[in-house]
Symmetry: C2
Subunit: 351 residues, 2 copies
């Protein structure tokens, strides 16, 4: 299996990824939703371009350094950074990026808006700022539609900024509550004479129910391009739709029921996402990866393992996005063919 | 706090790290143990040299690419790779490294020994191979002292190899069982006329009890140089002995009891190590980091938080070693002074 590859390696099947891109773009097209993929899952300009070519309106990044890396190779013209950008270094960088691409950001406090307004006070093109709304996920975001309205007014009044709309990272499975929250905020803002050009929702778990929140005009989704074990468990996709896997070698077989692989938390990560083990071993449904240390993964089964030291296995991780962040390179494949090695250009971009 | 640093940043206090190095070296010196630090915790040649200067006999690496990175800057002459090295690429690399430094590795199966023997068949200096023993941690290693003896005989008979001794990564808190296992294996091997030059134990949780396993001649320990929240919880060190911390900025205060920081699992990692939250916020014992997504950390308290958007906090992570692996650079500090930025040279070396 990919005999020329040294293990552990992260494999990305382009055939599967491309099919995932097309399938979800079709869904969005069919429901009049614009699609703005989050590139955190792949961190590869190559795949961002494939998403844009298929019809995506632009990309989503979480951090400014991630956006910077993604646009460094050209071809990406519209970036939404769904993060409160603060501090002189980051604001200067934002200002500089805004001269290269169409840029939008979020804010959920006066403090963040003030920083953006100061940095863009004399900007030729105003920066689009969406208000982040906490519709139940209890992360960032204003708590009440009235607060969203107040911030929209503040953005609208700042000379270098323009109000770009509403953004939420919604809780899974709460479509009615999200619809109600965002509709009310939108109505309040419009009643004040301010247009709401975009209402941006997102999240892979609910991706096939995006149309059940009709106030949303644009959907952000990251994991859909690779999928992973967590989305298989939720019924969002099948194991065959998972484009990212980890190739590992069995380095030790201490007992008939235990095999140790050369991929640990430095590849698979400790993300559980509700599971009690660390990935699905393809072709071996009886095996559980019950323990990771940094460089070892422990595979156990109640049955004797039909494996030998030197054998290779492929693992679909619990969470694909975080695995993309662990290695400097991924191996691009199409089925059993190795196509190329690609640097993960936006890996490790945390600021 | 370190006003010039962009957040999130990983801070390493050299004063604290140096004190940790000296303290444990003194313990080992006092108990006639040679100390062989595992560099996985810091991945920095600078600190490996400090460990060697203090009296360490050499360093431990887990993977061959990690060893390669560590010796690339010179000054490191003795490396023990505590991993089953397999496959042509890695064996060729091992052979090449063995011409630059004094090298030893482990094996726990005939298969691994055969590969090593073939790669070193015509080597001028034989490769030292220690037999890895599973003394209860249930990861790699032979299961019975008799198996250790059989592999020692096999290594001893291979022309390019020499038997280097026994190695274990022991379970925490099982000193008597470990002593009994290793003593028996050592006696069996010696009874067969083969010397056992080194018995290598290790593990930070039991580091102050290393002398309670008198058969052990050499101790491998990684986390002790930085320490972390998990070792504070075990009573191995105090919070003041923790050299590594994460500097983060509060980017959102959605409610009086909730603050969001700009460090998520891409910095702090999802390693729990028995905790239910993701790090100790220095100076704020009431705060729990109860949730991480990739770029956000959620801090909650039952009391109103005395914090504002823009404030900075320092976090001692649950597990220091894995945090070292997340960013390309760490910030070296001494107390409140920023000393330098250092690349994490052996970051992401998984093969």
């Amino acid at each position: 299996m990919y005999a020329n590859l040294v293990t552990p390696s992260v494999l990305v099947d382009l055939d599967v990824a491309e099919a995932n891109i097309v399938r979800y773009q079709s869904y969005c097209d069919g429901h009049n939703l614009t699609l703005r993929p989050h590139i955190k899952t792949h961190k590869l300009p190559l795949l961002a371009k494939a998403q844009l070519d298929a019809g995506a309106v632009g990309i989503t990044c979480q951090k400014i350094s991630e956006a910077e890396a993604m646009i460094s190779q050209g071809g990406i013209e519209d970036v939404f950074i769904t993060y409160n950008i603060m501090g002189d270094d980051k604001l200067n960088c934002l200002r500089s990026l805004s001269q290269k691409v169409r840029l939008s950001v979020v804010a959920d406090s006066e403090m963040v808006i003030n920083g953006l307004a100061e940095a863009f006070a004399d900007a030729q093109t105003p920066l689009a700022v969406l208000v982040e709304c906490d519709t139940g996920a209890r992360r960032c975001g204003v708590q009440q539609p009235e607060q969203a309205m107040a911030l929209a007014v503040r953005i609208d009044a700042a000379s270098g900024l323009k109000f770009g709309g509403l953004m939420t990272y919604p809780p899974a499975g709460a479509t009615d509550a999200v619809q109600s929250w965002l509709s009310r905020a939108k109505a309040l803002i419009e009643a004040g004479g301010i247009a709401v050009p975009v209402v941006s929702g997102g999240g892979s778990p609910d991706m096939w129910n995006a149309h059940l929140v009709p106030v949303v005009t644009e959907y952000r989704v990251g994991t859909y391009i690779y999928n992973d074990r967590s989305l298989v468990a939720r019924g969002t996709c099948s194991l065959d739709d998972c484009a990212l896997s980890v190739l590992a070698t069995i380095v030790s077989m201490p007992t008939v029921n235990r095999a140790i692989i050369d991929a640990g938390s430095k590849v698979l990560t400790s993300d559980l996402l509700g599971f009690e083990d660390f990935g699905a071993v393809l072709g071996h449904p009886d095996i559980r990866i019950d323990q990771l240390s940094e460089e070892h993964g422990r595979m156990v089964s109640e049955q004797p393992l039909d494996l030998r030291v030197g054998d290779r296995v492929r693992i679909v991780p619990n969470h694909a996005c975080v695995v993309s962040n662990m290695l400097d390179h991924v191996q691009l494949i199409r089925g059993s063919q190795l196509v190329a090695q690609s640097p993960v250009l936006a890996r490790g971009k945390v600021w």
